[in-house]
């Protein structure tokens, strides 16, 4: 093995071309990658596959890897036995509202932090990101009880903003900082207010960042379990709580569990396939600012 082969190609990705003898050089990384990827894919395969297996196949030993008679029974059970569509709708409403509000107030905040270098405030929002959710969940549980606000999507949405807001601010600070200030300065000379140069010049230029932040914020809200588990009721249950309910509902109720798990993961997985680039941008930008 020569040194050339192991040099990280990232150093010059564009210039590196697959060489004539590259087949061998390709095979090894492909195999090692497969070693990492197979366990990842297998869990998802198992989830989906189990959701289509019959009760006999699910509890069979040795386990069934491929259903002989795939059934959609578990999916129709989900729809029949509980207001599954309602719970999906709840998740959607909470996710969209928390993301929209997070964006509406997070975007100007991120802009101000980046432009006027308000590092104290950026630390404050980092602390928000660090604070364990359960520490403000307990007081909110008490407040909700006192105000008779139990079982309401409003309080759950409010708490979900604690997930979306710091995330959006952290991702967007990076994007705003990377923006050259010339245009905004020129606009100020022409009499633009700070708000105008933010809304009319900066925001349109960071659209890719906004897309990344929005996708990530929504996914985080969609996946969150704790807030709705504690504060939600029959009318305000979100999907992750529903999935969890499948386990304690009856013993080994694995068919409906697998079906519900598949349905809650489906939107984020499909979203990942479509918005892969933005998602990676958001994840790395959000992390790099730390």
């Amino acid at each position: 093995m020569t040194v050339t082969e192991v040099r990280p190609p990232a150093a010059a990705p564009a210039r590196r071309r697959v060489r004539p003898h590259a087949l061998k050089a390709q095979l090894l990384p492909m195999l090692i990658s497969a070693f990492f990827i197979v366990p990842i894919v297998f869990v998802f395969y198992w989830m989906v596959s189990m959701s289509f297996q019959t009760q006999v196949e699910i509890s069979a030993s040795p386990p069934t890897f491929w259903s002989a008679q795939p059934t959609t029974e578990w999916y129709s059970q989900l729809m029949r036995r509980m207001p599954f569509v309602q719970y999906t709708w709840n998740s959607l409403v909470v996710g969209v509202s928390a993301t929209a509000i997070g964006l509406a107030i997070g975007l100007p905040a991120a802009y101000a932090i980046a432009r006027w270098r308000l590092s104290g405030l950026s630390t404050l929002f980092l602390i928000t990101r660090i604070t364990p959710a359960i520490s403000f969940l307990i007081p909110w549980y008490i407040i909700a009880k006192r105000l008779n606000l139990g079982d309401s999507l409003v309080i759950i949405t409010l708490l979900h903003i604690t997930i979306t807001l710091p995330l959006i601010i952290w991702i967007m600070i990076g994007f705003f900082e990377a923006l050259p200030t010339d245009l905004e300065q020129a606009a100020t000379v022409d009499g633009c207010t700070a708000w105008q140069s933010f809304a009319l010049i900066a925001v349109p230029l960071v659209k890719p960042g906004i897309v990344a932040a929005v996708i990530l914020a929504f996914i985080q809200s969609w996946n969150n379990f704790l807030f709705a588990a504690v504060l939600g009721g029959p009318g305000s249950q979100t999907l992750p709580v529903t999935v969890y309910g499948m386990l304690s509902f009856e013993q080994a109720n694995w068919g409906p569990l697998a079906a519900a798990a598949t349905l809650v993961c489906l939107p984020v997985i499909v979203g990942t396939i479509f918005f892969q680039r933005q998602l990676v941008e958001g994840l790395t930008a959000g992390a790099m600012k730390g």
């Binding site: 192991v6 040099r7 990280p8 190609p9 990232a10 050089a25 390709q26 990384p29 090692i32 990658s33 497969a34 990492f36 366990p39 990842i40 869990v43 198992w46 069979a60 030993s61 386990p63 107030i105 997070g106 100007p108 905040a109 432009r115 308000l118 405030l121 404050l124 929002f125 928000t128 990101r129 604070t131 364990p132 359960i134 520490s135 403000f136 307990i138 007081p139 903003i161 604690t162 807001l165 100020t188 207010t193 996946n223 379990f225 504690v230 999907l239 992750p240 999935v243 386990l247 694995w254 569990l257 519900a260 993961c265 984020v268 997985i269 990942t272 892969q276 994840l283 992390a287 790099m288």
Partner: protein
């Protein structure tokens, strides 16, 4: 500012008045105060009362008694130890595997794009759903993991159903879910590395292993530190996975500080005592974060 400008000269106001930044951040600040800071202040007060929701007696101010109890609480100490153990093990595993994964995925090979997309799935998938699928896979009798172990000639495991294997099982799930995140950050770091040191190393005849230790790893450190920081924070806070998979059991074998806190507040309804633990946990997580950030500063200054 008393002299008026000559007629015709455009008046240049100071570029931006200092009120502008405040107006931009005010809504976010206000919301953060209302949703997080104010409740935390309230918690600080609660932590000095003996309030139990189910108790008919009104809460009494008891000063620092809850904190004194916390220091003597063996269950709290054990749950803290478990939290730190899970964090250290999970994060180190994820760092090593994530960097290895990134080094491989950084090469050009057929199917790399597809592999990278698939690697993202665990990072975005709903933790509760994934955890419960792992519960079915870890079933000692019918679970597919034991099927794999026994067909390889290895011993079947009790996984989350035995006290001694429950923590490793949870670490396994957390590592499965978050190694790709470390990979992602490491890949982003690798993409920014300069070419020259590698050329120099090549001329010097360094082998791949030497090149990795002498060049790639040191240059990757800043990105890796970020990944480490985020993983450490999130693992200290880890809740969904453990709650969904074991609820802290069997017994209290997998009860982390978050889980104990949850039990105290929502099963025992000891809000006053739980509040003192919230404050302690917050101080701990912030302390560890600041410590990590300080460690990075020191490392940077030294190099």
């Amino acid at each position: 500012m008393t002299t008026s400008p000559l007629p015709g000269t455009p008046v240049r106001r100071p570029r931006r008045r200092p009120t502008a930044p405040l107006l931009f951040v005010l809504p976010a600040l206000l919301l953060t105060v209302i949703v997080i800071a104010f409740p935390l202040g309230y918690t600080l007060y609660q932590s000095m009362t003996n309030w139990v929701i189910t108790s008919p007696n009104p809460p009494k101010f008891i000063g620092l008694a809850n904190y004194a109890e916390l220091l003597r609480d063996q269950r709290a100490l054990q749950s803290l130890t478990r939290t730190l153990l899970i964090t250290v093990c999970s994060v180190s595993l994820q760092m090593v595997l994530g960097v290895a994964m990134a080094l491989v995925m950084n090469k050009h090979f057929f199917g790399r794009g597809l592999f990278r997309t698939l690697a993202l799935f665990p990072v975005v998938a709903t933790p509760v759903a994934i955890s419960l699928i792992f519960v079915t896979m870890m079933n000692p009798q019918t679970g597919v993991l034991n099927h794999f172990l026994t067909s390889l000639g290895l011993n079947a495991q009790q996984w989350i159903y035995a006290e001694k294997s429950v923590l490793p099982a949870l670490i396994l799930v957390d590592t499965w879910q978050w190694t790709p995140f470390v990979m992602l950050i490491a890949l982003a770091g690798l993409a920014t590395l300069p070419n020259e040191p590698y050329e120099a190393a090549m001329i010097d005849g360094a082998n791949p292993w030497q090149t990795f230790w002498a060049i790639t790893l040191p240059m990757l450190m800043p990105s890796l530190f970020v990944a480490l920081l985020f993983r450490a924070i999130d693992t200290l806070k880890l809740f969904d996975t453990i709650y969904a998979m074991t609820q802290g059991g069997p017994g209290t074998a997998s009860e982390t500080i978050n889980l104990y806190l949850y039990t105290l507040s929502f099963n025992y309804f000891r809000m006053g005592y739980a509040s003192s633990m919230v404050i302690a946990l917050l101080v701990l997580v912030l302390g560890i974060t600041l410590l990590l950030i300080r460690a990075r500063k020191l490392a940077e200054d030294r190099s």
